[in-house]
């Protein structure tokens, strides 16, 4: 039975439960709803939740657990080294999948893999059958138990509310657990990388020159990439922070409400443009323009259109709406009473802004800048297009360099062999990025929290 049918059937059954539960509650009090503890709706909802959620939860759990249980079962029967077993198992899985889909196995049924595939496919089918039976039983159980509970005194509202809270907890758990999972995957693969590649060579190496099959000897130095990332981010912030901040001050303090109400949503639209669009802009417009001035025809500092300056400028432009929109909110949150106090002492508008509003908003603005910085550091598509591909340690902003993010992309594209350091290094780079942006975000949060304390 296909999955969608099971889910639809469950839903229909639970809906029927809803109406039955509601009707039963009304009947229990001879139609006088005032005698019920809760509104009739809650009795129906109680039956619905008990039927659907329990069965659906089992379904999800079963489907998540079944592959690993079967894999473990089959794997236990195989012989050989751990690595070889893993390899055999993945072939068995592939064979079983084809067998289930087309009815014919790509492997000889007499071979170990072929026999395994047949067994595997059989277990999958049996598991599926068991699952359907179990789900139906649970649904029926939930249905009858909850329906029997329905009576005038039953506190259906409380029970429904408890289930709702359970759902909310479940959702937040999923959010937290996936984050933890991603983090663990990063960490384990990074450890794996450091097992086959010396950590000091990665952390302090000044040359980035991966070569396929180069092993532990190839130079995979983090510093040139980190330097490129920081250099580009610094240029981007140097562009975005003053312009964004001044724009925010104008919007919040000088502009008429009508102007502000038109421009603010526009800025927010700008902030939502995907970065690859900015990347195209960097590659096709800004790069060639810079080349005209600073290239061999002009000052001669620039070799090609890709450079730290190209990527930094365009990233700065990309971040302007981000900085100005956030700063505008923060400046607006400064209490009007402070401005009045300053005007009341005979201060002009610009004195008030410089000496009262901005100092009061400063922690929030610093928070906004740090958030912008962590976006700049994590930006990928734009630097892939605008910055270049070669890792380089240089102080000339017109040279092409590359960043941590761009190299994660290039190390993982194409045929990747996840036992080689030049591929696994992507995880170490990812962990580096993760730690840098995590640190920045924590810092921003701390500063913003401090800012909140002042006015509550």
């Amino acid at each position: 039975m296909p999955l969608s049918w099971i889910v639809l059937g469950l839903l229909a059954f639970a809906m029927a439960g809803f109406f039955l539960g509601r009707a039963r509650a009304t009947r229990a009090v001879q139609g006088d709803a005032r005698k019920l503890h809760s509104l009739p709706f809650y009795y129906g909802a109680h039956v619905f939740l008990m039927t659907f959620v329990s069965a659906f939860g089992l379904l999800v759990f079963w489907m998540a657990a079944q592959p690993s249980v079967i894999g473990w079962w089959i794997g236990a029967g195989l012989e050989g080294e751990p690595g070889a077993i893993t390899l055999q198992l993945s072939e068995i899985k592939r064979g079983a999948a084809q067998l289930l889909e087309t009815g014919t196995s790509p492997y000889d049924a007499a071979s170990v893999v072929g026999a395994g595939a047949v067994r595997y496919a059989g277990m999958v089918q049996a598991g599926h059958l068991f699952m359907v039976v179990a789900v139906v039983l649970v649904a029926l159980g939930g249905f009858f138990v909850s329906l029997r509970q329905v009576s005038g005194e039953f506190r259906a509202r409380n029970s429904v509310e408890a289930s709702v809270r359970g759902l909310l907890i479940g959702a937040s758990l999923i959010a937290i657990l996936t984050t933890v999972g991603i983090f663990l995957a990063l960490i384990f693969n990074t450890i794996e990388f450091f097992r086959i590649y010396p950590a000091s060579q990665f952390l302090f190496g000044t040359v980035w020159q991966p070569s396929s099959g180069g092993g532990a000897m190839q130079p995979l130095g983090l510093l040139p990439l980190l330097w490129g990332t920081l250099f580009i981010s610094a240029i981007a912030l140097a562009v975005a922070v003053p312009i964004g901040l001044f724009a925010a001050i104008y919007l919040a303090e000088y502009a008429t409400p009508r102007f502000r109400n038109t421009v603010k949503p526009l800025l927010e639209v700008l902030a939502g443009i995907p970065s690859i669009v900015y990347g195209l802009f960097a590659l096709l417009t800004v790069g060639p323009m810079l080349l005209k001035v600073f290239g061999s025809g002009g000052l001669g500092w620039m070799q090609g259109a890709s450079s730290v300056m190209t990527a930094g400028l365009v990233m700065g432009i990309m971040l302007i709406p981000f900085v100005s929109s956030l700063s505008d909110d923060i400046i607006n949150a400064v209490p009007q009473a402070l401005r009045d106090g300053s005007y009341g002492l005979g201060a002009t508008r610009s004195e008030t802004i410089r000496q009262v509003v901005l100092p009061a908003a400063l922690p929030g603005i610093v928070g906004a800048i740090i958030l912008a910085a962590s976006r700049a550091i994590g930006e990928t598509m734009l630097v892939v297009f605008g910055a270049g591909a070669a890792g380089r340690l240089s102080a000339n902003p017109f040279e092409a360099m590359t960043t941590v993010t761009a190299k994660i992309v290039s190390q993982l594209t194409g045929d990747s062999d996840f036992t080689q350091p030049e591929v696994l290094v992507a995880y170490a780079l990812g962990t580096t990025l993760f730690l840098v942006t995590l640190g920045l975000n924590l810092l921003a949060q701390k500063i913003v929290a401090k800012y909140r304390e002042q006015y509550t």
């Binding site: 402070l338 401005r339 009045d340 106090g341 005007y343 009341g344 002492l345 005979g346 002009t348």
Partner: protein
């Protein structure tokens, strides 16, 4: 202010600090102050009383042109400070506000140190030539604000860390530091406990020695305690204005009587 002297001086002009003539205030279409004329005396505490929304704050804010900061607000009529029209084009509202200080309903210390809060006005207006000058101005203002003893050892800690009553006295000190001629106070005690209120009231009585003080209050007792003159506002009109004692013991207008005996408002 401009230097032109107004020629027609009357005998009582010396005593009149602020003269308002036929003042109208509109918020967009809403007519918030209707034809108010009043003479406010120098070295006197004048109380504005009246039910909420009758326009006390609005009228108070006309006197230092704080209403200029509200885009939809429009003021008509004349307000003279020492005989000079403060709504004249040649008057810079910023300079005016240095002469007519204001204390607000809710204490609003800047997120700066206590010292910098008080030094804010003097710095902006260049009142101190040296650091020692400024120190002296700050100390004098804090003493007049009756808060010097409490803060003299923590001048460089944030003003926002003080208690509500201390913050309000700091704001008063901040306002007197620019040596204003008139001090406007909009319900300065409404956020304070009785002890802090008593301190502020005592302070107001002292400030009367040097300034003309105008105070908006919701408390009849407070008006009776601190003021010599009282003005009663109702629905944007100035209903009655006279000696505080007379207003409270023998009001002329029936509306005033209803209000002070608690029947309207």
């Amino acid at each position: 202010m401009f230097d032109a002297k107004i020629s027609e001086t009357t005998v009582t002009q010396n005593d009149i600090k602020i003269a308002a003539r036929k003042v109208q205030v509109y918020y967009g279409e809403a007519h918030a102050i209707k034809d108010v004329s009043v003479d406010i005396l120098d070295k006197t505490v004048t109380a504005f009383i009246g039910p909420s929304g009758c326009g006390k704050s609005t009228f108070l804010r006309c006197i230092n042109r704080m209403n200029d900061t509200i885009p939809i607000c429009r003021v008509e009529g004349d307000i003279l400070l020492d005989g000079e029209d403060i709504y004249d084009k040649r008057v810079d509202p910023v300079n005016l506000r240095a002469r007519v200080g204001m204390v607000f309903q809710k204490p609003n210390p800047f997120p700066k140190s206590i010292y910098d809060n008080v030094a804010y006005g003097p710095r902006i207006h260049g009142l101190a030539r040296t650091k020692a000058d400024l120190d002296e101005i700050v100390e004098r203002a804090l003493r007049r604000g009756a808060i010097w003893e409490e803060v003299k050892d923590r001048l460089h800690q944030p003003g926002t860390g003080l208690s509500g009553g201390q913050q309000q006295r700091l704001c008063i000190a901040r306002a007197v530091a620019t040596e204003p001629e008139v001090l406007l106070m909009d319900e300065p005690c409404s956020a304070l406990d009785p002890i802090a209120t008593a301190q502020v009231e005592e302070l107001i009585d002292e400030l009367r020695q040097s300034y003309s003080v105008v105070i908006v209050t919701h408390s009849m007792q407070q008006a009776a305690r601190v003021s010599q003159k009282t003005a009663f506002f109702h629905l944007g009109n100035l209903v009655e204005y006279g000696d505080t004692e007379q207003i409270f013991t023998n009001p002329v207008d029936p509306r005033t009587e209803s209000y002070i005996t608690g029947r309207i408002g």
